[in-house]
């Protein structure tokens, strides 16, 4: 079973590699994720290390464990476990390679390990006992201290936080540097490379942190609706009868509602939170997947191998989930990258309308929303637009490549 699986996926991979743009786009997703994970390393208003009259403080590290956005928390934990994973993974990788395991398999396992480690860190560090206390929440590292030779810090390359308000720098154009008489905080000497928004927050930093939000919304929402869609679609296709009747009706009812309309209504009613947005996109997206999977399972159900498995005495659950489903998953997988792209578009659109995540959160759409009030702030339009466009293009390219690679008619 697993052999045929591997060979099917290796064919798909070979096909995928032939499609150069898609191949490069898939690789370009890696830096996108690294950017998301390493956002605090690139940009934060907390110094990595701060020398305070003979004492060393580590505000940056403590800040990692105390964030308001759930997506930030997730990625921060991914950052915390990144280097331990690298070490552990390197060691495991060597062992597995000596054991003769295929490369794709090893990589899959390593990524799984990373996800597990991140989840474990998320659980462990949610306990107050374990995580480092938030000592410098109130403290701002201001200039008086900074001028003091006994007090200095090592800052990230972009010394601005994504949500810290700066009253002296509202809506400043790109490359703006504060005049030196206004310097208060330690990071005020540094130019705002892409300008600032209505709260004096650095646009570049918000764009970087915005990748975290966008990718989280995209992946979780799509993961949710693919899970729901696959399970319901498989049940409907495999068992038929009244189960099929019922699920098909539900699918039909859900498809009748225009998706963005329903999302907007639900988010407008339920409130603005990243969880709600993800869940709402999830519950409005599953019917298309379910319909695809249902059709595919219907096709597979009548094949000989299903009969053979049943004749061997396998239970329906086993046949469905171990034999039929793995062979019918491809339409759902093809839909995934496109789904992520459209979830990102929807999230930014919601933020543009003011129904997105709550304001200080660094959503790309929120920047667009600020610019809609006054089009003189062109940097609040151009750069977020570019960010949305690039991310969406990457996912669409990958989706295109995956579709072509899985389409047997195009195989040569």
């Amino acid at each position: 079973m697993s052999d045929t699986q591997d060979s099917y996926w290796s064919i798909v991979w070979q096909q995928f590699r032939k499609n150069r743009p898609a191949y490069w786009a898939a690789w370009a997703l890696v830096p996108l994720f690294l950017l998301s994970i390493f956002a605090p390393v690139l940009a934060s208003d907390r110094p990595f290390a701060y020398y305070d009259r003979g004492r060393w403080l580590f505000p940056w590290f403590r800040e990692l464990f105390h964030v308001e956005e759930p997506s930030d928390y997730f990625y921060n934990m991914a950052l915390v476990v990144f280097f331990p994973w690298l070490v552990l993974g390197g060691w495991l990788n060597r062992r597995w390679r000596r054991g003769g395991m295929a490369r794709s398999r090893r990589w899959g396992r390593l990524l799984g390990l990373y996800a597990l480690l991140t989840l474990a860190a998320m659980v462990v560090f949610s306990l107050d006992v374990v995580r480092p206390a938030h000592l410098y929440f109130e403290r701002r590292f201001v200039r008086e201290e900074f001028g003091d030779p006994q007090r200095w810090g090592i800052y990230p390359p972009l010394p601005f936080g994504p949500t810290t308000v700066d009253e002296d720098a509202f809506f400043k154009p790109p490359l703006f540097v504060k005049p030196s008489q206004q310097w208060k905080a330690a990071n005020d000497y540094f130019p705002h490379l892409l300008g600032t928004d209505g709260g004096g927050r650095d646009v570049l930093v918000r764009l970087i942190y915005g990748t975290r939000l966008a990718t989280t919304v995209g992946f979780v929402a799509v993961g949710l609706y693919i899970t729901i869609g696959v399970v319901l679609g498989a049940l409907a296709g495999y068992f038929g009868g009244w189960v099929d009747m019922l699920i098909s009706r539900i699918i039909e009812v859900m498809l009748v509602f225009p998706a963005f309309f329903l999302i907007l209504t639900l988010v407008g009613f339920l409130g603005q939170s990243i969880y709600i947005i993800m869940v709402v996109i999830g519950i409005t997206g599953w019917p298309t997947i379910a319909r695809l999977i249902r059709g595919e399972v219907l096709k597979q159900r009548n094949m000989e191998y299903v009969l053979a498995a049943l004749a061997q005495g396998a239970s329906h659950t086993r046949v469905l989930f171990r034999h039929v489903l793995p062979n019918s998953l491809s339409p759902a997988l093809v839909a995934a990258p496109f789904g992520i792209a459209s979830a990102i578009i929807v999230e930014a659109g919601l933020s543009l309308l003011g129904f997105g995540v709550r304001p200080p959160a660094p959503s790309w759409g929120a920047l667009l929303r600020e610019a809609h009030g006054n089009y003189a702030y062109w940097w609040l339009i151009v750069f977020p637009s570019l960010a949305v466009f690039l991310t969406v293009t990457l996912f669409n390219l990958v989706g295109n490549g995956l579709r072509d690679a899985m389409d047997p008619r195009l195989r040569r």
């Binding site: 039909e252 859900m254 225009p258 089009y375 151009v382 637009s385």
Partner: protein, 618 residues
């Protein structure tokens, strides 16, 4: 064909049912009752220019006080809950704050029962607050405890009040019966208040605008009771005075009602006149119109019957109030005790869902909850008139551009033309329309150099005075950018679809045959290939109907166009549920119909497919 259509239409019924169910669920998710959310603070209600009374009337009109799906209230004995409710309502808040202490301590059986009653009301943090302010007040200062107790008492009272309001007339028989049995002053007070909350308009003091003989009994009974409480009104009047008043009444009847108050101000002996009116109303010989006029004037001049006790009310007043309620109950006995068959019917019919179903099925969407109180259907129609031409135009443009592009790509498959167009389409596909809209606005409306287009709206200021030609040009000038956004960034999918479809057809054997026959390339492509490739595309055409109806939220928001999308956005923002409900529902129905239309179109266009085959397949 007809059997297929019938089958499809029958299948639409469960779907439609599901649609109403989902719409209903969506509305239920809307944050709950504003009264409950405010927890006793009536400030924001007042800010909306609405009294609690008016709010309740509207709530009852919308049937929001009914259960969601099953109305079991007709089958329950409400004596115990009403008794508890009365106990909470019977004393001022300060006293109630004291009385909550035995409840918190679970002193005895009754206290426990009362606490259980409170638990059913879903008061937020009830247990925590009882714990904090009554059972083990630890850190708080005495003032804090007093304030906490008082605010809890106020909340409790509010929730009990809402409980009574929701119970509405189901509780009345129990309450009236209790009013006869109970003797303690507290309970009698509480019951009067509970009844007041349950019944919005207990008595009819007036006739309707178009008086009916059926109304006489009730109105007369009300005023008879009134006269009973104020016997001085029944003093006999002098013959000539009676005549003069009668002449005055006839004069009033001939003038319009707006001028009555003016005329009444000039009446010399007003109290006497009122005596006359009351007696005339109760006189069985008076004609209906005169009775109606009497009742109207009396209702505007006299205080209504006392229904709730003030704090200093004497036992006598309390007794009067109790009797008033009993009279109300006697007058409406029929309504309070429906027959068993009717109760079974009401079990499903008297629910929020049933009422909503009826409203939706009859397309009676009511009025907007905004201050303007416009009818919802009118609002939607206005918005539709704005966005429909725009959407229709862009949909036509999409087809006119996308299909030829797709066909060209397929014909020139793998050439540089194909690659260039595909790349262009891919880029268009990856740009969200609203992002493009903002960029276009930035460069062409607000830019320093290229101020080519107006920045929003559909007409310039003062467009009404323009000549028709200028008006149209102005309109066209305004819709260029929105139409561009709506067209350019949605055509990629259709173009790729037509490319695939055309490619598939071009790979067929009959095309090779046609070429082998020596037909010209143009003929092969236009006559043989294109016509078949268009079949799946034509069926997509039905997707345009919902698009034309629904408008585009984001584009209309950006360009400030008061169309359907903007209406959607604004009704969500203003929590205008009736409008939103109507929008969701209409959209869903239109999508449903257009799916059916597309299936029919499919069969009509493609001779290879018949209705028989389709009904077997699906």
């Amino acid at each position: 064909m007809w059997s297929y259509l019938l089958r499809r239409l029958l299948l639409m019924i469960p779907t439609l049912f599901g649609v109403t169910l989902v719409s209903f669920a969506v509305m239920q998710m809307a944050p709950g009752d504003p009264l409950l959310l405010q927890g006793g603070d009536q400030g924001s209600l007042a800010a909306q220019g609405e009294t609690r009374e008016a709010y309740l009337v509207r709530r009852r009109d919308l049937k929001l006080d009914r259960p969601l799906f099953l109305n079991l209230r007709y089958f329950r004995d409400w004596t115990e809950p009403v008794r508890h409710a009365a106990w909470f309502l019977g004393v001022p808040v300060e006293q109630l704050a004291q009385d909550l202490a035995p409840l918190a301590r679970l002193a005895d059986q009754t206290a426990r029962a009362r606490l259980r009653f409170l638990h059913q009301l879903d008061i937020p943090e009830l247990d925590r607050r009882l714990q904090r302010f009554f059972r083990s007040p630890g850190k708080e200062s005495p003032e804090q405890i007093r304030a906490g107790r008082l605010s809890l008492a106020r909340t409790v009272r509010n929730y009990v009040q809402v409980f009574c309001e929701n119970l509405s007339f189901h509780g009345v028989p129990a309450a009236v019966k209790l009013l006869e049995q109970e003797s303690s002053e507290r309970m009698r007070r509480g019951l009067a208040w509970a009844l007041r909350y349950m019944v919005v308009e207990p008595f009819r003091y007036e006739f309707s605008d178009n008086p009916q003989p059926e109304e006489v009994q009730e109105v007369e009974a009300t005023w008879r009771r009134w006269a009973q409480l104020n016997p001085q009104f029944l003093q006999p009047l002098l013959q000539e005075q009676q005549k003069a008043f009668h002449a005055l009444l006839e004069k009033l009847l001939q003038t319009s009602q707006e001028q009555w108050s003016l005329l009444l101000e000039q009446v010399p002996q007003m109290d006497r006149f009122l005596h006359f009116l009351l007696q005339h109303l109760l006189d069985p010989q008076s004609p209906l119109e005169e009775k109606a006029a009497c009742a109207r004037i009396l209702a505007s001049e006299l205080d209504p019957l006392p229904l709730v006790p003030r704090e200093d009310a004497s036992a006598e007043t309390l007794e009067q109030i109790a009797q008033n309620w009993q009279l109300h109950y006697r007058l409406h006995r029929q309504e309070y005790h429906p027959s068993w068959g009717r109760r079974l019917w009401l079990l499903v019919a008297d629910t929020q869902y049933a009422y909503m179903l009826v409203r939706l099925a009859t397309f009676n969407f009511g009025r907007s909850t905004l201050r303007t109180q416009e009818p919802v259907s009118q609002k939607i129609w206005e918005a539709f008139k704005v966005s429909a031409p725009l959407m229709a135009l862009s949909q036509v443009l999409i087809y006119l551009i996308a299909v030829p592009l797709g066909v060209i790509c397929a014909v020139k498959h793998n050439s540089w033309v194909d690659r260039a167009i595909s790349l262009g389409l891919f880029i268009l596909y990856s740009i969200p329309a609203y992002v493009a809209g903002m960029l276009l606005l930035l460069f062409f409306c607000y830019g320093d150099y290229l101020k080519w287009f107006p920045s929003g709206g559909l007409h310039s200021e003062g467009a009404q005075q323009m000549s028709p030609w200028a008006y149209w040009l102005d309109y066209l000038h305004h819709i260029v950018l929105p139409t561009l956004c709506l067209t350019l960034f949605s055509l990629a999918a259709l173009a790729m679809y037509s490319r695939t479809s055309m490619l598939e057809v071009l790979g067929q054997d009959y095309i090779r045959t046609a070429r082998a026959k020596g037909l010209s390339e143009a003929k092969v492509i236009l006559k043989h290939a294109l016509r078949n490739a268009l079949i799946p595309i034509i069926t997509l055409f039905s997707n345009t109907i919902p698009a034309v109806l629904g408008g585009s939220v984001l584009i209309e928001y950006l360009f400030n166009i008061p169309g359907m999308g903007r209406l959607t956005f604004e009704s969500i923002e203003n929590k205008d549920y009736p409008t939103l409900m109507a929008l969701v529902y209409i959209n869903a129905i239109v999508v449903m119909i257009s799916i059916l239309a597309s299936d029919i179109l499919y069969v009509l266009v493609d001779p290879r497919i018949s209705f028989q085959k389709r009904s077997q397949a699906g």
